[in-house]
Amino acid sequence: MDSIAVTKETLITEAKALLGKEARFAIATCVDLGDKLEMIYHFDDHLKLVNLRLHFGYDETIPSISGIYPAARLIEMEVTDLFGAKIEGIQGGFLLSEDSPKMPMRKPKKEVK
């Protein structure tokens, strides 16, 4: 799967460029890589899929693209709930309630012997 690597600093610029091309925000996928998180932002550019890939630490805060694509707000809330990702201006409470398990989609930590 082809993707464009982005950083916290370039994510917004890339998202704005895609909006300029009238690309549609499809969804973002969060993956726990074991030592950090990965966010892949998927866009539909006239039926062609464009992926922006961002790696960030568990405690790092990344920018929100919901200011550019309002539809991204829901998935950013979901990722905050399920993975414990920290996103600027985004709070959880979308799919999980207060007494739900915390960050249920994180991978179990491997024991170091």
Binding site: M1, A26, V31, H42, L47, L49, A71, L74, L82, L95
Partner: protein, 365 residues
């Protein structure tokens, strides 16, 4: 006094339990008198953790799980999942299996759209029509049961192909059903052209072309805003071999969404007929390895409600590392908020939300 000085708005909650919503979703509405000026969606009532369950099962068992994400469009879910895993595995399924997937997916679209017309009738106060359309739907569901063995969760697709073949006799019955449905659907045309239905749907829930693109609308909601985007145009499975062009509407309102779905009924019948006439002979599945090699892929198919998105990642074991599902309703929630926030009447809220054909169990997974 001016509005800027005194806030005359008040808040009311719409849902999660409401006669028009088959499933629980809440909209917190900000209203001024009878006019809606803001809406906030509240979800989370039926979250089941299915994405996590995908990681715990053997990947070959997962089609049964993906079918259970949605009872109405279980065929596109299994198609999207299987196509994603097949792409990671690097296998190509037999041509006959691709055609059979097309036929089942289009039958699924037919019953889903007919179901929606019934719900529209119910929402605009046309209850006898609700019963009538669901009677047509029964015929399609009976055929789906005969093809797959099940009425709702078809379990027809498997990684590597499909589980059941279509006998020549049953293919003839499917062909015969298409003729009967064409007759039945003439009554849907009557309703689409009905004065009362037009009064309740025209210029209601307007979503301009620009708004549809920015808010990420998909499916009939997007196409009714005059955007010719349909993933079947990409030619996945057997769609490359059949004549197809997307159906759009220019009115950008609830009525346009009804017209798009009504025309897609005829389109699906045509696609099934084309597929039956070209159905190739041969195997219906190929063997697949016991583990999924490391790799990732995005699989997108056009479900009845719009783009269905699966991200699949393998890690060299029989379990998947990650499986992300984005259903069409998830994408259409924000467009619905945009439509509601424009100053619609409270009485139109149900019709507007219904116009995106919401499926909440799908959305929350």
């Amino acid at each position: 006094m001016h509005d800027e000085v005194v806030d005359r708005s008040s808040s009311i909650t719409f849902g999660p339990q409401h006669p028009v919503f088959p499933e629980p979703i809440q909209f917190k509405l900000k209203v001024v008198d009878e006019r809606v000026v803001g809406a906030t969606p509240v979800l989370g009532y039926v979250h089941r953790g299915i994405e996590k369950a995908f990681e715990l099962n053997d990947y070959k068992v997962n089609p049964a799980l993906s079918a259970k994400i949605c009872g109405i469009c279980s065929s596109p879910h299994t198609t999207a999942y299987c196509r994603g895993v097949e792409a990671v595995l690097g296998i190509d399924i037999p041509p006959r299996a691709k055609y059979l997937r097309l036929i089942l997916n289009e039958l699924n679209r037919l019953h889903s759209h007919v179901l929606w017309f019934g719900l529209l009738g119910d929402a605009v106060g046309f209850e006898s029509y609700f019963m009538q359309t669901w009677n047509y739907r029964e015929k399609i569901m009976d055929m789906l049961e005969r093809m797959s063995g099940h009425r709702v969760y078809y379990a027809f697709n498997a990684v590597g192909g499909v589980r059941r073949d279509l006998s020549p006799a049953l293919a003839k019955e499917v062909e015969g059903l298409m003729g009967k449905l064409e007759e039945d659907f003439s009554s849907i045309e009557d309703v689409v052209k009905d004065y009362s239905v037009k009064k309740r749907t025209q210029k209601v829930g307007v979503l301009t072309t620009k708004e549809a693109k920015v808010t990420g609308a998909v499916g009939p909601t997007l196409r009714a805003s005059d955007v010719a985007a349909d993933l079947r145009m990409t030619g996945y499975d057997a769609y490359a071999d059949v004549k197809f062009s997307p159906i759009t509407a220019t009115s950008c309102d609830t009525y346009g969404r009804a017209v798009v779905r009504w025309k897609e009924l005829s389109q699906s019948i045509d696609l099934i007929r084309q597929a039956l006439s070209k159905l190739p002979a041969g195997e219906i599945s190929v063997k697949v390895p016991p583990v999924v090699k490391p790799g990732e892929c995005v699989s997108r198919v056009e479900a009845p409600r719009g783009e269905l998105f699966y991200y699949v990642k393998g890690n060299g074991t029989k379990n998947l590392e990650r499986c992300k599902v984005r259903t069409p309703t998830f994408a259409n929630v924000w467009p619905a908020v945009a439509m509601l926030s424009k100053g619609c009447e409270i009485a139109d809220v149900a019709v507007i939300v219904l116009s995106i054909d919401p499926c909440i169990s799908c959305t929350e997974r």
